[in-house]
């Protein structure tokens, strides 16, 4: 069984390429995740606001492509990105939390 993950490619209102991710990212699905990132050439905004879980396996995928990624996350993921040092390598936008995400 693989962890559920939905990947939706698209464009942001400003025209930049965007990958919206919903679900959880762990060891079991990083390959899918990595392929989706690699499908887009060049700069990419990755919207992780609907990701409830991200561990070091997911981080490693992001680290490998840090120079061309821009991340949008919910406050839930902030500690992990900060601790790992990813926030120093790439631009990370944190959505202001009007209410805490449920994580589900």
């Amino acid at each position: 069984m693989t962890t559920s993950l939905t990947l939706t490619s698209g464009r942001r209102p400003d025209g930049r390429a965007q990958l919206a991710v919903t679900g959880e990212i762990d060891m079991s699905n990083i390959d899918t995740f990595a392929r989706a990132l690699d499908d887009v050439v060049g700069h990419l905004v990755v919207d992780l606001t609907e990701v409830g879980y991200l561990d070091s396996a997911g981080l490693s995928v992001l680290f490998a492509r840090a120079d061309r990624l821009e991340l949008v996350i919910s406050p839930l993921l902030e500690p992990v990105l900060t601790i790992s040092g990813l926030t120093d390598l790439t631009t990370v936008h944190t959505t202001s939390p009007p209410e805490a995400p449920t994580g589900r």
């Binding site: 069984m1 762990d26 060891m27 079991s28 879980y53 561990d55 490693s60 790992s84």
Partner: protein, 1404 residues
């Protein structure tokens, strides 16, 4: 599916159809079944109803099996496989149920048919089934319910069985009952045979665990003799009556058993045909022979038990047999010790009989010589009637005393005759009034002479009374003699009347009477009333006892009434006729109705008591040759008027022979008895000698002495005589040639009574002599009385002067202490004080007492003294200060009463009582011994008491009042204790400054040593006492040991009865029986995993104690369990239980808390039947009570609706349910106990629940242990999360899901939840990587537990931890960094079999 949200239980299945996925293991095996070959077809085609049923079955942790379809195809779950199926698994899966359970189909088939036919569920409790699951038919018990299963169309197509196995409980109860029965009557000590018979009866009542038993006892020659059996009809080859010690190839291995080894025996190999089968269809195949162990000796014998072939000989079974043997051994030991005591008692009784026989024989032996004395004396009396009066007097004395001795001997003989039933009576019809009056008349002269009146008032009674005249004489003469003895003025009355159809004889006097408390003891043999004023101190104390016996022989009664100072009245009532008398003793009236010669001694004796009767005194005049220079003078035959009323004795002291002769002639001529001496010294010697020999009267009535004499002159003689208290009152008349006032004043000042100047006329001398004697008699009358009284005291009497010297003593003093008046005065320190050297303590006590005596006006104390012969005795001294009326000096008079026997008896009783109390207060052997040693130390004021138990250890285990260990003792001390081992038991051994004794301790011989510390006598009495105490101690220790053992067994068995064997996570339970007396009871707890994942919680308390309550408890528990499983709510369950309890004796008034918990949410629905409220300790430190949903205890109001309440157990809160034993204490409100329990739970919020349970039981226990049994149940919400999953990355998401859901139950903030998820996720990912690398498919375990302010996670795998190597695998290294950053503490422990990661997070 059973529960996609129930992530904690989700177990992915490697292969197979999804219908089996709820359980990977059994599911896997079910998937492997060739279903196409069964009537059910392949699982894909199964109807939804079947799939659902199988899912429920597999996801339940409660043992279940089901049957479906025409063949009743068999399914079961993991719990059933584990508990019941045994070797039948997995073969049973998919087979027809009839095949699977072929061996019990006769039992269960009809039940299944009923379910299928009626659609109604069945219920069976503890049904015995013989299962063939372990390679042999196995006795097992099951409580189960068959309920119907419906297909999609609503038709019954199968059945579901929910079952719990009760085998351990049922067998445990059965064994416990046997052990309790065996110990049911421990207070009655029996003979060995009775012990065996009782045990056989009890063992025979359990023919299941004990199909047959044989008890053999070893004889002295080592052979074994059959002493008891159960379950076997004798004779039987299995039970030879005797097995010789050297028997070749014996049925039972006697030699190994004699060595104390337990031996299992195959009955087939032993060649025993047809062993008895007991309660089973097939006989035992094996037997177990266990020794009946005896402390420090070869076994008493052994017990053979035929073993239940339907059970394995496991530890429980073996332990049961050994405990049974232990019971038998203890019973035997106690019977044997009783027998030994019995034998000692019989020896004592035999001694007593021998003593009686001896006395009776010796009385007989006396009679012959007495007769030979009395005959010639009678002869001489008549022949010498006219001869020398002195000879006659001596003869009279011999005669009187002969009569008295004869009377005493006859009385003793009468007693032994009466006791032996050999009293020959001859009852003849008698005119009682006349005969009694005649007997009274015999005493008239004596009574007259005593100055008393005799009033005889004997009206003729119109009917003769049958009496033995000889006996009646003795009755009357004894009573009259008694009256005379104790009456000093007034009357003695004798009356005979007819009253109420009986002849009543009353003998009444106006004497001194007896104190009220003495009246009941008047007729006791040898009982004498102390210090009574009487005419004589003679008497043996058996007269009244004999009177009572004699009256009894006449069928009559005698009673006494007495008022002190007023008199005593004896009333005899005799029946008329002779119907009450033995026919062969009744005779016609004899011609001779006169009083027999037997009256003579009584009257003679009585006459002697009378004070005027001095002429018949036993003292004889000073005869020739008696004393140097003393010469007797003859007495005149015709007494003249000038002699005082009674013949007086005069000592004449003069150096002039002519004067002596002259004086002698004048005095003897006047009727005096005269003795002469030639100087003052001789006079003094004669006076002193006489004073010793004539204790009860003056040595001489008068001393006539010349003033001028050689050696010692008259004046100094007077001074010496006056100085000695024994002679001070002897009157002295001085004669002197010196005339004039001065000389006479000098004489009188010296203390002379009168003074006569020579020459003097004979008449003047006689007048002066007579006047002086009469004056002296008058003056010394009080002194005489006093002397007589003092000497008649049974107690030792003494007088001390102001310096403490003892100046006067009486006869009893000499008897008690051995010191006579000849060495008076005794100056302090008195020779009877205990020796300061050898008995400093005794010496000190007497010294203190002496100070008290000298310093206080009056007092009393008990002290040890030393008899002249060295033996020690205890006396109670009473003293009072007085003033000597003559000298005016202060004196102290006192008495000693010998209380040695009482003292030792009291000391013994006190000591034994103290020891018993000490032992009774001890909770076990470890407490008993120190307590006993403390008592012993106090008792002997010992410096130290040691006890070494020579158990099997390297060194003896030492108990010491000083608290030292064995290795700390000196070599000498160890040697002393070790040497004691070789002594015979219970025999005191003195050594140096201590005393030791060996006794039996349950763990081996015990050497007891009492260190007295200083030199002091350890008397024979002390030794007896020590033996007694040591014996009592040994008995007490053995009893405590037995109780200890019973306690351990009882707890083990009760715990086996109590369930549940598998406790859901998050729960902890405890049960503790009442401490003292040890009793299991009716308290219980239970948790029931309901099929839908909820958990039933029950805590209950049946009224009463003991096995009966435990049985009621078992039934209620099973019923409650079944009701909850049928999906009843708590209130509904309790209402159904009301009806159930009403039908069980003893179940009424049981209190129950019943709740159903939803573990995911913490929702608890509950109802309480009169049970104390549950306590909820919340994480925020507040405490609440579950005090709603309350109603009456069970079966009190059957049919009444019960309320139900609901509460939410918040995250990390702890719930405590309990029975009242935990909180109820005497004289304390229940709420106090509940508050205390609440506080204790609050304080334990951060402790794991199981540890908290232990802590609560300890903390709330009263000193001395719980006095009621206690059940306790704890739940902390949420329960710890435990998961195991294969090391595959696909597992990460479901694991995370389960963990997230659990964390939500813990009500943590989202950020914290996320941190924990990531940290745990990293640890799991790491574990999976190792699993993949080393061996795919390995298992990973995750455990999470929440405490009030702490969260703890453990992830363990079976691989090797990967050291972070960021350059090779960047994200793994990051994982560890993340874990450490997110959690407070991370510990990674690599091990050979796997790696464990522990993580903590503070969450408060």
């Amino acid at each position: 599916m059973a529960g996609p949200e129930d992530a904690g239980r989700e177990r992915p299945v490697a292969t197979g159809h999804r219908v089996f996925s709820a359980d990977p293991e059994v599911g896997g095996d079910l998937a492997a079944v060739d279903w196409a070959a069964t009537p059910l077809g392949p699982p894909e085609e199964w109807p939804q109803s079947l799939r659902t049923a199988v899912s429920i079955l597999l996801s339940s942790r409660f043992p279940m099996w089901m049957a479906w379809g025409p063949d009743l195809t068999f399914f079961c779950n993991a719990a059933y496989r584990r508990d019941t199926l045994g070797q039948k698994y997995p073969r049973a899966l998919g087979r027809p149920a009839r095949e699977v359970w072929a061996e019990i189909w006769d039992d269960i088939g009809p039940r299944i048919d009923t379910v299928l036919a009626t659609g109604e569920a069945t219920w069976d409790e503890a049904l015995r089934l013989f299962l063939q699951r372990s390679g042999y038919p196995e006795e097992s018990y099951h409580t189960f319910s068959y309920s119907p299963l419906w297909d999609d169309a609503g038709a019954v197509v199968g059945m579901l069985c929910v079952v719990s196995e009760d085998t351990e409980r049922v067998i445990g109860e059965r064994r416990m009952a046997t052990l309790r029965d065996l110990g049911s009557d421990p207070s009655v000590i029996r003979t060995e045979q009775e012990v065996m018979a009782f045990a056989a009866r009890q063992l025979g009542r359990n023919p299941y665990d004990l199909p047959f038993t044989l008890t053999y006892l070893f004889g002295d020659d080592g052979s074994a003799r059959l002493a008891g059996s159960s379950g076997v009809r004798l004779p039987h080859p299995v039970a030879p009556a005797v097995i010789a010690a050297d028997a070749t190839d014996p049925v039972w291995p006697v030699r190994a058993l004699a060595r104390g080894e337990a031996v299992p025996v195959s009955l087939e190999e032993a060649g025993v045909p047809d062993p008895p089968a007991g309660g089973w269809p097939e006989p035992p195949a094996r037997a177990l022979a266990v020794p009946l162990l005896r402390q420090g000796d070869t076994p008493h014998g052994f017990l053979v038990v035929g073993l239940n072939r339907y059970r394995l000989l496991d530890d429980g079974y073996r332990g049961f047999v050994e405990l049974t043997a232990g019971h038998l051994a203890a019973g035997l030991a106690s019977a044997r010790s009783y027998r030994a005591q019995q034998r000692r008692a019989e020896e004592l009784a035999e001694l007593d009989r021998a003593k009686t026989t001896f006395f009776s024989n010796i009385s007989h032996e006396f009679r012959t010589p007495l007769t030979l004395i009395m005959g010639p004396v009678e002869e001489l009396r008549s022949r010498l009637a006219e001869s020398d009066p002195r000879v006659r007097e001596e003869l009279e004395a011999i005669h009187r005393n002969g009569l008295r001795l004869g009377k005493l001997v006859n009385t003793l003989l009468d007693f032994s005759r009466i006791e032996a039933g050999r009293m020959r009576a001859r009852y003849e019809p008698t005119d009682l009034a006349a005969f009694t009056a005649e007997l009274a008349g015999v005493f008239r002269s004596a009574i007259d002479r005593a100055g008393l009146a005799l009033r005889v008032d004997c009206d003729p009674v119109d009917e003769p009374v049958f009496i033995d005249r000889g006996m009646w004489e003795k009755v009357m003469l004894n009573l009259l003699g008694n009256a005379l003895k104790f009456t000093f003025e007034g009357t003695i009355g004798v009356t005979v009347r007819r009253e109420g159809g009986r002849a009543v004889v009353v003998v009444a006097d106006t004497g001194i009477g007896v104190p009220r408390e003495e009246v009941p003891r008047l007729f006791e043999r040898f009982h004498r009333i102390e210090n009574a004023r009487s005419r004589s101190n003679e008497g043996s104390g058996i007269g009244l006892a004999l009177v009572q016996e004699l009256v009894g022989l006449h069928g009559g009664t005698i009673t006494a009434e007495s008022t002190e100072g007023e008199g005593t009245r004896f009333t005899i009532a005799l029946p008329f006729g002779h119907a009450h008398l033995p026919a062969d003793s009744v005779a016609p009236e004899s011609a001779d109705g006169k009083v027999s010669i037997a009256a003579d001694p009584y009257v003679q004796e009585a006459l002697r008591w009378l004070p005027a009767d001095t002429s018949t005194g036993t003292a004889t005049p000073v005869g020739p040759g008696q004393g140097a220079g003393v010469r007797a003078a003859g007495s005149a035959p015709d007494p003249r008027a000038s002699c005082p009323t009674a013949r007086a004795r005069v000592l004449v002291a003069d150096d002039n022979a002519d004067m002596r002769e002259y004086l002698t002639r004048i005095l003897t001529g006047a009727g005096y008895e005269v003795a002469t001496v030639t100087d003052g010294r001789q006079a003094l010697d004669a006076i002193r000698r006489e004073s010793r020999e004539t204790r009860d009267r003056e040595p001489f009535d008068l001393v006539v002495s010349d003033v001028m004499m050689p050696v010692l002159d008259g004046l100094r003689l007077v001074a010496e005589v006056r100085a000695d208290p024994r002679t001070a009152s002897v009157p002295v008349l001085l004669l002197s040639a010196r005339a004039g006032q001065e000389a006479s004043i000098e004489g009188l000042e010296a203390g002379a009574d009168d003074y006569l100047v020579k020459p003097f006329a004979a008449a003047e001398l006689l007048a002066r002599a007579r006047a002086t004697i009469e004056m002296a008699r008058l003056r010394s009358r009080q002194a005489h009385w006093r002397a007589a009284l003092v000497d008649s005291l049974q107690e030792a009497f003494f007088v001390c002067d102001e310096q403490g010297a003892v100046v006067e003593i009486n006869t009893a003093f000499t008897e008690i202490l051995g010191y006579g008046p000849e060495n008076l005065p005794y100056a302090p320190t008195h020779p009877w004080w205990p020796d300061a050297e050898t008995d400093p303590e005794g010496h000190r006590r007497v010294g203190e007492a002496f100070e008290q005596l000298m310093g206080n006006p009056r007092g009393s104390y008990t002290i040890p003294l030393r008899h002249r012969d060295g033996h020690r005795l205890w006396v109670t001294a009473t003293f009072a200060r007085a003033r000597d009326p003559e000298t005016g000096n202060g004196v102290t008079v006192g008495t000693f009463r010998d209380v040695t026997a009482e003292h030792h008896a009291i000391q013994r009783e006190t000591a034994l009582a103290a020891l018993s109390t000490g032992l009774a207060g001890a909770a076990g052997l470890h407490e008993a011994l120190p307590a006993a040693l403390g008592e012993l130390r106090t008792l002997w004021s010992a410096r130290r008491v040691l006890a070494a138990v020579f158990d099997d250890g390297d060194a003896p285990s030492l108990t010491d009042t000083d608290g030292e260990q064995w290795r700390e003792l000196s070599v000498d001390q160890r040697r002393t204790l070790i040497d004691l081992r070789d002594q015979p038991p219970l025999t005191p051994v003195t050594h140096g400054t201590g005393i030791g004794i060996l006794l039996e301790h349950p763990e081996g011989p015990l050497a007891l040593w009492i260190e007295l510390g200083e030199r002091r006598p350890f008397t024979a009495e002390d030794q007896v006492l020590l033996s007694l105490l040591a014996g009592r101690l040994a008995q007490g220790l053995s009893r405590i040991h037995q109780i200890d053992q019973q306690r351990r067994t009882a707890i083990a068995l009760q715990r086996a009865i109590l369930g549940p064997s598998h406790l859901p996570d998050g729960f902890a339970v405890r049960y503790e029986p009442a401490g003292r007396p040890l009793e299991v009871g009716g308290d219980w707890y239970d948790t029931i995993a309901l099929p839908d994942g909820r958990i039933g919680i029950v805590v209950g308390d049946c009224v009463g104690r003991g096995l009966e309550a435990a049985t009621v408890m078992g039934q209620l528990r099973s019923a409650c369990r079944a009701l909850l499983l049928q999906d009843a709510g708590p209130a509904q369950t309790l209402m159904a239980l009301d009806r159930f309890a009403a039908g069980i004796p003893g179940a009424t008034c049981t209190t129950v808390f019943c709740g159903v918990l939803t573990p995911e949410t913490g929702r608890l629905v509950y109802s309480s039947a009169g049970h104390p409220p549950g306590i909820l300790a919340r994480a925020d430190g507040t405490t609440g009570l579950l005090d709603e949903g309350r109603s009456a205890p069970l079966a009190v109001r059957p049919g009444a609706e019960r309320p139900e309440a609901e509460c939410l157990v918040p995250a990390r809160a702890t719930l405590l349910l309990y029975t009242d034993g935990l909180v109820e204490r005497r004289r304390r409100p229940l709420t106090t106990g509940i508050d205390q329990a609440g506080e204790a739970v609050q304080e334990g919020r951060d402790v794991a629940v199981d540890d908290l349970a232990t802590r609560l039981m300890e903390r709330l226990a009263p000193t001395g242990g719980y006095d009621d049994d206690v059940a306790l149940l704890l739940y902390r919400h949420p329960a710890p999360l435990e998961m195991t999953f294969p090391a595959e990355s696909s597992q990460l998401a479901p694991v995370r899901k389960a963990l997230r859901s659990w964390l939500d139950q813990c009500e943590l903030p989202p950020g914290t939840t996320q941190s924990v998820l990531v940290a745990a996720g990293e640890a799991c990912a790491n574990a999976i990587e190792h699993g993949h690398r080393d061996a795919p498919g390995k298992i990973v375990r995750l455990r999470a537990e929440a405490f009030v302010d702490d969260l703890r996670l453990t992830i363990a795998d079976t691989g090797h931890w990967k050291t972070p190597q960021p350059e090779l695998n960047t994200h793994r290294g990051r994982g560890v960094t993340l874990m450490r950053a997110l959690m407070q503490q991370v510990t990674i422990t690599p091990g050979p079999s796997g790696t464990t990661v522990d993580m903590h997070l503070r969450i408060a």
